[in-house]
Symmetry: C2
Subunit: 452 residues, 2 copies
């Protein structure tokens, strides 16, 4: 039984000092557990000269060294298959992989207790996003060993709704069944969500008339930070769309945008603070950042036993979380805009940080542009230049292109403070590069800068 009509668990509404008490107790236990059972953490902490006894208050966490994926790669290469991060070989029930752009997969094992926590946290987030017992919820994924689609399905079941897997189906089949079966929610990336709407249109199916979808769980790409894409999805699906951020490396669902917050211009995501301790670091120096700043999300799982995740650097860019009032009644801290992108999506041009998600947002806010775009980085004299390549909508006359380009130049200038060049290309040029609505990052951002 949910705690209120908006909130699944009472713990989400505790006073801050009580949440922090819980966090401290769990942090102390977790660090001790990792130190005692994971040779990896024992070695790491011994080399840094710290022990579990050094954690007296929450901010002592910064005494501990951070962990990143290259360290996991190294121990898994040395000691297959899970590396000596693993604390036990018993009761491992789930197996996930994460893939970098190069090299072998990283492997993750979850204990039964770990997985129960993941299921519970997904239920909490999905309930917050508006999924209700009795709902029919489609998971638009092919089910590789990735935590996201699996955890989401378990969460749906946990809260009393019916998960509908759709692995191996093409988009037409998903769209048709979604309508025929009265599906009330689904999980997909924003790109795929828009692609499904396009396919429905091609099939002559009117979503506004036929869709019963109320809730879309958005995963894998920034959404709250890209209000224009969010509005497009809301418009096409007439449904609430919530960022649902889960990470395989650190025990699953870290934050989610609640139903109430989807009305905000740039929604903030609630952190599952009883399970995760969040820091935001300067990606270069590792320094802990304060209110109002943006940097790399660093996560500590407070209850992850198979392969603990303590100060794991995610390479995701977020704003520092804030305590703010949310009408849903949760007291947990929130991150405005949720995930903004990857640290590697941050383009540094003329000394200014620009995220592709910011450019995406500006492009998609202009109704006379198709939603696709490319970012080309070039060297112009001594400086770098951003060329933003966009597709006007088919009904726009060629003569109107220059005006459209000027509007976009102005929008970018006022949003991020730099002048970009805008290039208009015939409709289909960029969107034709995608597959199932997804354009690979390698085709999205093209770096033609001269290398020094």
């Amino acid at each position: 039984m949910p705690f209120t009509k908006s909130v699944w668990s009472k713990v989400e509404t505790l006073p801050r000092e009580r949440i922090e008490e819980i966090q401290l107790i769990r942090l102390q236990r977790m660090v001790k557990f990792a130190y005692d059972h994971s040779p990896f953490y024992r070695r790491l902490y011994e080399e840094a000269g710290v022990t579990p006894m050094d954690i007296h208050e929450l901010k002592d966490i910064s005494k501990l060294p951070t962990v990143d994926k290259t360290m996991v790669d190294a121990v898994q290469r040395e000691n297959p298959i899970f590396g000596d991060l693993l604390t036990t070989s018993r009761d491992l029930v789930k197996f996930w992989t994460t893939t970098g752009t190069t090299g072998p997969s990283r492997l993750w094992a979850y204990t039964r207790e770990d997985w129960e926590n993941v299921s519970y946290l997904y239920a909490r987030g999905l309930y917050g996003a508006g999924v209700r017992p009795g709902d029919r919820f489609m998971i638009c994924a092919n089910y590789p060993p990735a935590l996201g689609p699996w955890g989401c399905g378990y969460g749906i079941e946990y809260l009393g709704a019916l998960p509908i897997p759709s692995g191996g189906w093409d988009t037409k089949k998903r769209v048709q069944n979604l309508l025929d079966w009265g599906v009330t929610g689904f999980r997909a990336t924003p790109s795929y969500t828009l692609h499904m709407a396009d396919v429905a249109e091609e099939m002559g199916l009117n979503l506004k008339e036929r869709s019963q979808v109320r809730v879309i769980a958005s995963v894998g790409e920034p959404l709250a930070a890209v209000p224009a894409t969010k509005r497009l999805i809301e418009e096409k699906w007439q449904a609430n769309v919530s960022d649902m951020v889960g990470m395989t490396e650190v025990g699953g669902p870290v934050m989610f945008v609640c139903q109430e917050a989807t009305r905000e211009e740039m929604p903030a995501a609630h952190l599952n603070e009883d399970y995760f301790l969040i820091e935001v670091l300067n990606p270069e120096t590792g320094e802990v950042l304060g209110p109002g700043q943006e940097g790399e999300l660093c996560i500590t799982s407070l209850l992850l036993y198979g392969m603990p995740g303590i100060r794991y650097r995610t390479k995701d860019v977020v704003r520092v979380p804030e305590v703010d009032f949310c009408p849903c009644g949760r007291t947990t801290m929130r991150i405005r805009g949720a995930i903004k992108g990857r640290t590697s999506d941050m383009l540094v041009v003329k000394g200014i940080n620009v995220y592709t998600s910011t450019l995406e947002n500006l492009v998609r806010a202009l109704p006379n542009l198709n939603r696709e775009f490319q970012v080309v980085l070039r060297t112009r004299g001594r400086f770098d230049e951003i060329v933003l390549r966009v597709e006007p909508m088919p009904h726009i006359a060629q003569e109107a292109y220059p005006n459209l380009a000027r509007t976009l130049v102005d929008k970018v200038k006022s949003a991020v403070g730099i002048t970009v060049a805008v290039e208009t290309v015939p409709p289909g040029t960029i969107s034709g590069l995608g597959e199932q609505g997804v354009i690979l990052k390698s085709k999205r951002v093209i770096d033609e800068r001269e290398k020094q």
Copy 2:
């Protein structure tokens, strides 16, 4: 904890009279439950003039009308999405579909209790096939809403092994990871199992040296009834391969070949008799067949509550189950050869029943033939004729083809009593028709007979 080193549950070893006692109590309860809660069954039984009170002993089951897929289609069309077969709208946790060759999917909802039973029964069967706690087990499937791959994964977890999903992966990736990660078992169709071995060879990977696979759970196609294919798989993978028969329509894992029985020439599969009551019917007349006969498998689930399955006609062809001695210690009845094919795979030629699986077996027993084949049915004068199209191995000289053909003609004659025509075609002609090792039935059996 398993009951013995071969048997998961004590109930698998009970004396027959005790098993039948359990079956009768469960049958009476199940029929009453369906009558009380499923409008579909109430209507069916009222029309037939039977009530739950008419079931006094096990053989009274034949008083009840049978159910087939066309009846499910009809009620689901009339009353979407599950039809009035459904007994409850609460606590439905799993959703599966089954597809016919024409028309929409049939939909199946499982309650939490139903699904716990499925998980337990898969664990029992997989343990029987040789999977052990701590094993790493890959499920080679893309995870559409089909009971098989999901149930298998839950069963693996239930018995304490680690399931490795591989949805959306291509064969190369599956084979590579299977070897790199020390996978000890997997679930696949026989065709795909052989295809993976071919791909490993193409990749220059030596399965005999590198594979740690001990157990293969074979699904979706006849295997025990096709000893030549079974031997091919054993030879290539150096592993035990067991038929694992699960059916979405009737609550999952109905029978499995135990590890001990894989040594039999044509293994017999143990029935999960505490959960299922099995009858074998004449597919034309519906008459119940006796020992030694072959016919349509008709299943009654004794513990399936969401959408009961009582006397469900499967269209699968089996021999009548027998009580026989199995060295594993189970006392449950067994079906020699497990599933032989679909009733629709039965070719009636010159008044004799011929199964494509029988022909497959004969083709694959000849080492000088590639494993692929086609069956062409033709009219020759007043009679039907079977043309068996086969591919000699690449190293066989053309001059040897007629001899090879004669050998096969003789083998078929002595096995099924009819004379077929054998046509040899160049290597690659038939195998080139497949995708990922699977040749569609429409390309496997070609009916060129003149229609009357």
